[in-house]
């Protein structure tokens, strides 16, 4: 327990990064934006939505892990985020059981 707390106190020192990493991530995000816009121009039919959502999810992972430092935070934050996502997915899933079979 205590060592965990201790780690937490020093946490800030542990994830001080250089500008470069973040600028790289930024360019990655720009590239993904370009991809999503250009793909939307193609006619992919029912795949359009899936592709758009997959790209948005990748972008979100980048933002969360690097800009929001989740990658460098203690595991408890990842657990929290997982709980939040699972609950939200459950809400959408159960609502769609109604819509699809209505």
């Amino acid at each position: 327990m205590d060592s965990e707390k201790e780690k937490a106190i020093h946490e800030h020192e542990s994830h001080s990064h250089e500008y470069g990493v973040y600028i790289l991530v930024f360019f990655g995000l720009l590239a993904l934006t370009a991809i999503t816009v250009s793909i939307a121009g193609l006619n992919l039919g029912s795949l359009t939505l899936t592709v758009a959502l997959v790209i948005a999810t990748i972008k979100t992972c980048l933002v969360a892990n690097y800009f929001m430092h989740v990658k460098f935070d203690s595991p408890i934050f990842k657990v929290f985020i997982a709980v939040c996502i699972v609950i939200f997915a459950t809400m959408i899933g159960l609502t769609f059981f109604d819509l699809i079979f209505r």
Partner: protein
């Protein structure tokens, strides 16, 4: 009652054990960050409720949504996406520069963030303004002509981008306050959790836009 008493003893223990951390650590940065994250979850689910609505109505009226989306300008959406991504990057660079004790550069990055936020809102203003001009707004003449699915599309469009815009404004206010605190040296290179927390908020607003953009502007 003083704020110092918020401190728990176990932290006191930790602090005593690591005296080099110094006086200023009369605080719990991880706790503060945890609180912020929990708050972000509530924001996620606040928008989540509307994403459920969006998903349901898109499922019911998928063709009408495609027609309605023709009225939105992909370029404006894309530019706003880039603006927000840049502002997010600036916030995180501001933290790095503060860690490197470069207060001026930090403030510079935050000014850039504010400018991006303002630019986003200006774009939004013209975008909405144009729609309202041609009568696409709730109870508006053009919208009244449209089909049910399109009415719902624009209902969700106004509510979701509107609420998102409101969050941009709140985020800008937060960052403004933080900048004042940096200026007064209340936030420093070894005490910047508040900056990080408002950064987290700003990134979340960015993430929400990352989803709003393809869902509203990129349906073809």
């Amino acid at each position: 009652m003083s704020q110092n008493s918020d401190l728990t003893l176990h932290q006191q223990h930790v602090h005593e054990a690591h005296a080099h951390v110094g006086e200023h650590t009369h605080r719990d940065d991880v706790g503060s960050k945890m609180g912020m994250w929990l708050f972000l979850f509530t924001e996620v689910l606040l928008f989540g409720g509307m994403f459920i609505l969006y998903a349901s109505y898109r499922f019911m009226y998928s063709d009408a949504f495609k027609v309605a989306a023709e009225h939105l300008d992909t370029y404006v959406g894309a530019i706003n996406t880039i603006i927000l991504l840049a502002s997010s990057c600036a916030v995180v660079l501001a933290i790095v520069s503060l860690q490197k004790k470069n207060k001026r550069l930090c403030l510079g990055f935050l000014w850039f963030t504010l400018a991006c936020g303002a630019a986003f809102m200006v774009n939004k203003y013209f975008e909405w303004g144009h729609k309202i001009e041609i009568g696409i707004y709730p109870k508006g003449p053009a919208l009244a002509e449209m089909s049910e699915g399109e009415v719902l599309f624009f209902g969700l469009y106004y509510v979701m981008t509107g609420l998102h815009g409101l969050h941009i404004i709140i985020g800008m206010i937060f960052i403004g306050v933080i900048m004042a605190m940096i200026q007064k040296n209340k936030i420093t290179h070894d005490n910047f959790q508040k900056l990080e927390n408002s950064g987290l908020y700003w990134h979340l607003v960015d993430v929400i836009w990352i989803f709003l953009f393809p869902l509203f502007y990129l349906i073809h």
